[in-house]
């Protein structure tokens, strides 16, 4: 008997089942299909400006910084301003996300390069798939145009998110993921990011920038 078969046999022996019971199979299939939501905190169940405000409050509580701009066209200037204000070099690494690509980067003096990070990049800009107001969390999705390395290797990470993509709760984001990728399918990586990297492992003292970005800046784009 293979290890696999033996483990299944042992589980079934302990549970007192055979594994072919139609009722159990039905219960499991139903749950996988329906994906019931459970308890959703009311905190996030607000809309419009209120939801953006909650997102901002929660993101800031996780030690991210947040700015809002009126349109995608204002993003490059906002990035440049952020870097200048923090005395950071005017270089930016980004993927090929079409939402970022169509922004007027040439109106700034930023030096832009494209592609995944090899570990030497100081600043990165990414576009989020969505945000979650409940905890100020950003949902990032990997793909040809969105390298995951940009979320973790640079020292300073700037995430652009559309105001309309900021949802109340995680479950709303999963609905959008299912719509985009099909039920039961996922992109290789979904990263939820809530604040900049940190560690408390030395004497329980909170220190930022453990392995990932030391700073997380969020630009919310109204449209």
């Amino acid at each position: 008997m293979s290890a696999r078969d033996e483990i299944f046999a042992s589980i079934r022996r302990s549970l007192g089942v055979k594994g072919n019971e139609a009722i159990r199979r039905q219960i499991v299939q139903d749950r996988l299909e329906r994906a019931p939501k459970g308890v959703i905190p009311t905190r996030g169940q607000v809309s419009g400006e209120e939801r953006i405000a909650l997102f901002r409050t929660m993101a800031e509580a996780s030690l991210a910084t947040v700015t809002e701009v009126g349109s995608p066209a204002e993003v490059p200037q906002s990035v440049a301003l952020y870097l200048r204000n923090h005395n950071l070099p005017a270089t930016v690494r980004m993927g090929d996300d079409p939402r970022l690509k169509t922004m007027p980067w040439s109106e700034t003096t930023l030096e832009i390069s494209h592609g995944p990070s090899q570990g030497g990049d100081l600043n990165a800009v990414s576009h989020a798939f969505g945000g979650v107001a409940e905890t100020g969390t950003l949902a990032m999705i990997s793909g040809p145009e969105n390298p995951s390395t940009l979320n973790f290797l640079p020292d300073n990470h700037i995430i652009v998110v559309s105001a309309k993509d900021i949802a109340s709760d995680y479950e709303s984001v999963w609905n959008r993921v299912r719509f985009a990728f099909g039920k039961g399918s996922m992109p290789r990586t979904v990263n939820w990011i809530t604040g900049p990297s940190r560690s408390g492992d030395i004497e329980q003292t909170l220190l930022l920038g453990a392995h990932g970005p030391r700073r997380l800046h969020v630009i919310v784009v109204q449209e």
């Binding site: 905190p41 905190r43 392995h211 990932g212």
Partner: protein, 477 residues
């Protein structure tokens, strides 16, 4: 496999810990930090208690249908291009991991924090086979340098202070300027970041654990604050996920319910910084990510816990809240427990995994104060399960002879009320008389454990039942 454990020496371990002033100071950090933060996070979320119920129910439902969710999960991982391996025990798991590493031509392996990897002792095994494992969670990195086990499941180096870490860094990072300043914790962090960045970029294989596995999508989930787990899994060509079989949950929604209680219970954060959902290897056209994705599903005793009273322990999501709130853990720290899992969850789980003959002290070393159960996000009745272990020990005559004979004697009297009243009346009269001068005893035969540290208050002398009978007779007369 031979398990290296000092659990049988729990008492000696504890005595050493109690007399270690540095450790005692470090344990204060646990007492002060985690408890208030968890409470604040719980208070901020009105649905927190309802979420705990929901988390418990999800885990129970999954365990009852574990075989079917495991099948569904396996199918989804395969469909996304990943591989699923099954290991009945630690030996098999280590063999599978070694083979994957060899196939990848691995020289260096980076690792995210994973308790199951501690459980199967993978680091020493890889090293013995010429592969260098590098722990990347800061706390795990530190204890790896010291060749220690974690003393806490979410804060592995909580028993150490910054000076000790500095000494370790100076001892190991010999390529750096010996005169560098490491007096501040942030300098230690910066140094570890730089050293480990090199390791991340050079690693051939990355090994992570899994906080949850999602049957619906074949996804593994890890939760970190540092981002080390992500660099571990997206940079090397091969990503190996180690997971025990009880990590499964049905859907992304179910995982989200559990994530809502995990960080709040663990560190008091609303959400950990990085929650990562990984499904299979990189897709065609992807700019980065691992080319190979392996999941090693490890049983190592879990399947036989199902259907027993210890099944409830399989709900555990490894948040550490039980130990953060445990007076015994606060007193002796994690290493006293002698193996991978300390605190109340360890006191229940360890006997299941390495045998109650070895870990028999652990479920006994509890005051049953119940604080662990009161904060457990999946409502595991930890004291009740510790009591179940005590019952098994009693049945198997593993309970110490002195305790058994004491219990037998006491039980003999307690079952015979007349004799009990007669004997206790005489005993208390004697004790009361002997203690009338000082009101307490600083030494008593048979109670040395007690009187070593505190006085034993003298009884009033007459028992309640004797006086009650006397007064009732008088009232009636």
């Amino acid at each position: 496999m031979t398990v290296h454990t000092t659990s049988p020496q729990f008492k000696q371990n504890a005595a050493r810990a109690l007399h270690d002033p540095q450790l005692q100071k470090a344990l204060n950090n646990v007492k002060q930090g985690f408890i208030d933060k968890r409470q604040a996070a719980a208070d901020k979320l009105p649905e927190f208690e309802a979420l705990r119920d929901s988390a418990r129910d999800i885990k129970n439902h999954t365990l009852e249908h574990l075989d079917l969710y495991l099948e569904a999960y396996e199918e989804k991982v395969k469909a996304s291009g990943g591989h699923v391996h099954f290991a009945r025990n630690a030996d098999e798991a280590r063999e599978i991991i070694l083979n994957i590493c060899r196939d990848a031509g691995a020289k260096t392996v980076t690792k995210g924090k994973s308790m199951i990897s501690e459980e199967i002792g993978i680091n020493h095994y890889l090293e013995a086979n010429g592969i260098r494992p590098v722990e990347t969670d800061l706390g795990e990195y530190i204890i790896q340098l010291r060749n220690e086990l974690p003393s806490h499941i979410i804060a592995p180096a909580v028993h150490l202070n910054a000076t000790q870490v500095e000494q370790d860094f100076r001892r190991v990072h010999t390529h750096l300027d010996a005169k560098r300043d490491l007096s501040e914790p942030v300098q230690l962090l910066t140094e570890a970041r730089a050293v480990l960045r090199e390791r991340f970029l050079a690693a051939d294989v990355g090994i992570t654990g899994a906080n949850f596995l999602v049957a619906e999508t074949g996804t593994s989930i890890i939760v970190t604050n540092e981002g080390n787990g992500d660099l571990t899994q997206i940079l090397p060509k091969t990503h190996i996920v180690l997971a025990s079989i009880e990590k499964l949950v049905p859907t992304l929604e179910d995982a989200s319910q559990l994530l809502r209680v995990l960080a709040r219970s663990a560190t008091g954060q609303e959400m950990s910084v990085y929650t990562t959902f990984s499904t299979g290897p990189r897709r065609s056209g992807d700019a980065d990510g691992p080319e190979n994705y392996h999941v090693v599903m490890i049983d190592n005793g879990r399947s036989s816990m199902l259907g027993t009273s210890f099944e409830e322990m399989l709900r555990c999501i490894r948040c550490g809240a039980c130990m953060n709130h445990c007076p015994v853990y606060h007193a002796v720290g994690g290493h006293a427990y002698g193996w991978v899992y300390p605190g109340p969850m360890g006191a229940v789980l360890t006997p299941s995994l390495i045998g109650v003959d070895k870990a028999g002290h652990l479920p006994n070393a509890s005051t049953f104060c119940g604080r662990c159960e009161s904060v457990c996000p999946v409502r595991i009745p930890l004291p009740k399960l510790m009591r179940h272990w005590r019952e098994r020990e009693f049945e198997r005559h593993l309970t110490p002879a002195s305790v058994r004979s004491g219990l037998r004697l006491w039980g003999f009297f307690a079952k015979r009320p007349a004799l009990y009243r007669f004997a206790t009346r005489a005993a208390m009269a004697t004790l009361g008389f002997a203690g009338r001068q000082r009101g307490r005893f600083s030494w008593l035969p048979l109670a040395k454990g007690w009187t070593k540290h505190r006085d034993f208050p003298a009884p009033e002398g007459e028992t309640f039942q004797a006086r009650w009978q006397r007064e009732r007779n008088r009232r009636a007369a």
